[in-house]
């Protein structure tokens, strides 16, 4: 078998060194059930390729269809050098940099990543990554409770439903109270009026799940006057190239999903959780942190640091149970940001917004279609004259991926059944917009 270097002769020699008769004899302490498995035997590369390709062919690739899908996962172009660089074996096949002398490559890229994330969010520090935006959101809410020594969390109806669900699930057994407001497609919920001295944090998303862009400054001010932390989620980090950063508006913890800048949708995973905060809170942060130091020759180098927060040292008193995080996707994110640079990143964001504005203008004039948010970045909710899920299914038959129906997340809210989320990125061509507009005309 191609991945196994030992020959029968090797095995024989090694067994005699060990002093046992057979490989099976090494397992004599296991139960002797000798299980049988309903599975095929080994296969060559060609056969495996055929099998996997068959799965792939049953899917409609977003590369082959006008796609307006978003809702927290966005399709962007990535330069060819990005995928080449993350496949360098020295990055791909290394693990957590426990031995810093032979891990300076990974460590320096984490340090650069932390700096990029801090700059983009306008925060002081960022960690080495979380699993994804949703788990990062839960960790941020828990951290806010540790910092404030309070146990009430208020979650806006504009936060991604998966972030809300994960936060509720992950934090339900540690004595916290989590209030999730109803989904807020119109953008009218009153958060400021709900702030009080018992609250640990308010969790918001900007741009919101339904597309709304909001100035968080008044909310941040009200939070701070009550000792409450503002947690801001960013589900589309490309927005940070054009929109005022959450840190600038007063957020205390910023979490986000980095997938859209890191690589393909990959059916939603793996992504990378971005996590940034104020420097005064670093000892309450979850996850790994890379810090600068010097070696014995006085040369600059990097190490994992402040690990007394982490599970391998603190065990049940750790700030989180996270160990393996999303290293390679964080690297991809970081490399893409380096490739874009200041000019490329801000221009990419501007193109996304311009395309979304064009799309809103194109479909907003169609009979029965109404663009909901006044202000948005590259995605917005529209209301349709019939259930959005039906429209999506009818257009999928025509090879158009029209967007994500809100009912997929909120089936229990009838008032959301006609709401559709549509996203435009730099991948959205004029022809795609024509196709969607024509499709809407046919099925609405």
């Amino acid at each position: 078998m191609r991945y196994l270097p030992l020959t029968e002769a090797d095995r024989g020699a090694m067994l005699s060194t060990i002093g046992v008769d057979s490989v099976d004899a090494l397992f004599s302490e296991l139960p002797t059930g000798d299980p049988s498995f309903d599975l095929p035997d080994h296969q060559g590369e060609l056969e495996v390729e055929r099998a996997l390709t068959a799965f792939a062919r049953e899917n409609l690739s977003c590369a082959d269809a006008p796609s307006f899908l978003g809702a927290g996962n966005y399709r962007h172009h990535t330069p060819a050098s990005l995928d080449y660089l993350i496949q360098r074996g020295e990055f791909l096949t290394a693990y957590t940099p426990y031995q810093p002398e032979i891990s300076q490559g990974t460590l320096q890229t984490i340090f650069e990543f932390q700096t990029q994330v801090a700059l983009m969010t306008d925060m002081e520090v960022a960690n080495a990554s979380m699993y994804d935006g949703a788990t990062g959101c839960a960790e941020a809410a828990a951290m806010a409770c540790r910092v404030t020594k309070r146990n009430k969390i208020l979650v806006s109806g504009g936060v991604h439903p998966h972030y809300r669900d994960v936060t509720q699930t992950q934090l339900k057994h540690i004595g916290l109270t989590i209030e999730c407001l109803a989904p807020d497609p119109i953008g009218i919920e009153d958060l400021i009026g709900r702030i009080d001295d018992d609250l640990a944090c308010v969790v918001v998303q900007n741009p919101g799940f339904f597309g709304h862009l909001v100035d968080l400054s008044p909310l941040a001010e009200e939070c701070h006057s009550h000792g409450v932390l503002l947690v801001a989620c960013v589900a589309e980090p490309v927005s940070l190239g054009l929109v005022t950063a959450p840190g600038t508006m007063g957020a205390d913890i910023v979490v986000g999903e980095g997938q859209s800048l890191a690589g393909p949708s990959s059916f939603g995973g793996p992504g990378v959780g971005l996590f940034a905060t104020r420097e005064k809170f670093i000892r309450q942060m979850p996850g790994r942190l890379c810090g600068e130091t010097t070696d014995e020759d006085g040369r600059r180098g990097f190490v994992l640091t402040l690990s007394t927060r982490e599970q391998h040292i603190r065990r049940e008193k750790a700030t989180s149970n996270i160990c393996t995080n999303s290293g390679l996707i964080a690297l991809a994110f970081s490399i893409h940001m380096t490739l874009l640079g200041e000019e490329g990143f801000t221009k990419l964001a501007a193109i996304n917004h311009a395309n979304a504005v064009t799309l809103a203008e194109r479909i907003g004039v169609l009979a029965g279609v109404k663009v909901v948010p006044q202000n948005f970045f590259n995605e917005f909710a529209v209301t349709l004259p019939k259930p959005a899920a039906d429209v999506v299914d009818e257009l999928a038959v025509k090879g158009i991926l029209a967007g994500v129906p809100a009912s997929r997340f909120y089936p229990q809210y009838e008032e959301l059944s006609n709401v559709l989320l549509v996203a435009a990125t730099e991948m959205t061509t004029e022809a795609y917009m024509d196709a969607l507009a024509a499709g809407f005309k046919k099925v609405l």
């Binding site: 991945y3 196994l4 030992l6 060194t17 090494l26 397992f27 296991l30 299980p35 035997d41 080994h42 068959a54 799965f55 792939a56 899917n59 690739s61 899908l69 330069p79 496949q87 074996g89 020295e90 990055f91 791909l92 290394a94 693990y95 426990y98 031995q99 810093p100 032979i102 340090f111 700096t115 983009m120 994960v166 057994h173 940070l240 929109v243 005022t244 059916f267 939603g268 995973g269 130091t293 006085g298 982490e310 603190r314 049940e316 149970n321 996270i322 999303s326 690297l331 874009l340 640079g341 990143f345 221009k347 193109i351 395309n355 006044q374 970045f377 299914d393 038959v397 991926l401 730099e426």
Partner: protein, 514 residues
């Protein structure tokens, strides 16, 4: 290009550039900024009509500009400062650093698998659902348990999944209980996870031969105990021979048996968890099933569940419906009526699933049995050969990893850390050090099945020679100074923690509050 490290670099100062042949000094991207440069050529936006409501970002982000050649060289040079499986032997115990086949990378990049969106209509994603269903079938077959939650993102996340299921099952039948028992040799994630699940953690002692003390466990079991979490094979590299008795005692007490599957590579294809009485176990796809560790993830921690826990599994999961496969996405509804909730955004670590399935199909059931066979053979070969000079912590056959302690370094003035650093100069990644905590100065070596006998022999000869050198007592400084042949020598971790510098700044960074 100037090198900011050069002035302090005593050793590197032998060259004008700071580079030393093929060993390059590489600045931080922010220090090689050429404003206006970019590695992408984007068109101008079609128009500038904005709907930002006055929220346009004021001022720049502060990102550096680099051309594509600069970027490729930067990351290529940084990559060369990393040790990796591709470059050498990486016997990091408990981490299963095995070869990562490139076929799996190629498969994960097929447009029909990479370029699909988590919320595209089910009718356009049947292949993705079927792939997840197939992976679930493989993992259920290999473990003999009837249900699986695919969505946990890593091992610790899988532990949380298992404990959440256990808690939900207990709550459904009377009460959550309050304590989780964890052996003293456990990974730190076990107690950390139990705490997140709202449980107090109590430690169970070992029995002197590296395994859980069954009697001590039985004595502690009671109506307050919710679960017992046991790694098997355990972190000493030993099979818990009384696993079934442990499970029976746990079940008699009305509690659940969580098995930490971090070391599943040792037993894959040879035993089912049903035989061991397991209620839940996570499987690290990035260990046993070879998906790349990526410098610290992404991983995936699918968690298999017994019949008693199956109903409580988290969403999403694939269900067979009248119109083909569908995804149960809402806890409290339909087939997910009793689900404890959602623990991960979207549909789980799909890209990791693709790689793991390609790996499993490559090996098949016959090959996976050979995988565990060779992994355990390699570990025992190391154990026996290295015992010539090193001190193995336990007698007898080990599983996929061999545990040594620092008795062989007694009175040499050399520590496990020094010894590990000397191994770096010999061209090897050190084993896991100082873990598990139950032996003094641990060196935990996991060779995996993808190393040849020639590699193991070379490693043994180097380590044996180092051990003899250490015992001779005339070269303590060589160990204390190691490594010397690396891009950096030992780094000052105390300084890093006392005055944290966690990002680049153009100005000196203010110190963090202690």
């Amino acid at each position: 290009m100037t090198n900011p490290n050069q002035k302090n670099a005593a050793d590197a100062s032998q060259t004008v550039s700071g580079h030393r042949g093929l060993s390059f000094e590489e600045a931080i991207i922010f220090e090689i900024d050429t404003p206006g440069s970019s590695a992408v050529d984007l068109p101008e936006p079609e128009h500038d009509r904005d709907r930002l409501g006055g929220l346009r970002r004021r001022g720049g982000v502060g990102l550096p500009g680099l051309s594509e050649p600069d970027v490729v060289r930067h990351y290529t040079r940084l990559s060369q400062k990393n040790y990796s499986i591709d470059s050498g032997f990486y016997p990091l115990g408990s981490c299963t650093m095995k070869h990562n086949p490139r076929l799996n990378e190629k498969m994960a990049r097929l447009p029909g698998l990479a370029d699909i969106h988590p919320f595209q209509p089910a009718s356009t994603a049947q292949g993705a659902y079927r792939l997840m269903d197939t992976l679930a079938h493989w993992l259920k077959e290999l473990t003999g348990l009837p249900a699986i939650a695919l969505s946990p993102a890593a091992g610790a996340h899988g532990e949380l999944c298992g404990l959440m299921c256990i808690r939900a099952a207990l709550e459904a039948s009377g009460g959550a209980r309050s304590v989780v028992l964890v052996p003293e040799s456990a990974h730190g994630t076990n107690p950390a996870t139990a705490a997140i699940c709202g449980y107090a953690v109590e430690s169970i002692p070992g029995n002197g031969n590296g395994r859980v003390d069954l009697n001590a466990l039985k004595e502690r079991l009671g109506p307050d105990v919710a679960a017992v979490m046991i790694t098997n094979p355990n972190t000493c590299g030993l099979f818990e021979t009384e696993a079934k008795e442990i499970a029976d005692a746990v079940h008699t007490a009305g509690a659940y048996f969580y098995m930490d599957g971090a070391n599943f590579n040792a037993i894959v294809g040879r035993v089912t968890l049903a035989e061991l009485g397991v209620d839940a176990m996570h499987i690290n796809l990035h260990k046993t099933f070879s998906t790349p560790h990526g410098g610290g993830g992404p991983g995936a921690g699918p968690t298999v569940l017994s019949e008693a826990l199956a109903a409580f599994a988290p969403v999403p999961f694939v269900v067979h419906g009248p119109r083909g496969l569908a995804m149960a996405e809402h806890a409290g509804q339909g087939e997910a009526q009793h689900s404890f909730g959602r623990m991960k955004g979207f549909q789980g670590q799909f890209g990791v699933f693709v790689r793991a399935l390609a790996y499993m199909m490559s090996f098949g059931k016959d090959g996976l049995r050979q995988v565990s066979g060779d992994a355990v053979l390699n570990a025992n070969y190391l154990r026996v050969r290295l015992s010539e000079e090193l001190t193995a912590s336990y007698d007898g056959i080990c599983m996929h990893e061999a545990l040594f302690d620092d008795r062989f370094l007694k009175d040499t003035g050399i520590t496990t850390l020094d010894f590990a650093k000397a191994m770096i100069d010999e061209g090897f990644h050190p084993p896991t050090t100082y873990f598990p905590l139950v032996v003094h100065g641990a060196l935990l070596m996991e060779p995996t099945e993808t190393e040849s006998k020639a590699t193991l022999d070379q490693f043994c000869e180097s380590v044996l020679a180092l051990a003899r050198k250490a015992k001779r007592g005339d070269a303590v400084d060589d160990f204390k100074n190691a490594p010397v042949l690396t891009p950096r020598r030992r780094l000052d971790e105390t300084q890093a923690a006392r005055k944290p510098v966690l990002r680049w700044k153009p100005m000196p960074m203010p110190q963090a509050a202690e």
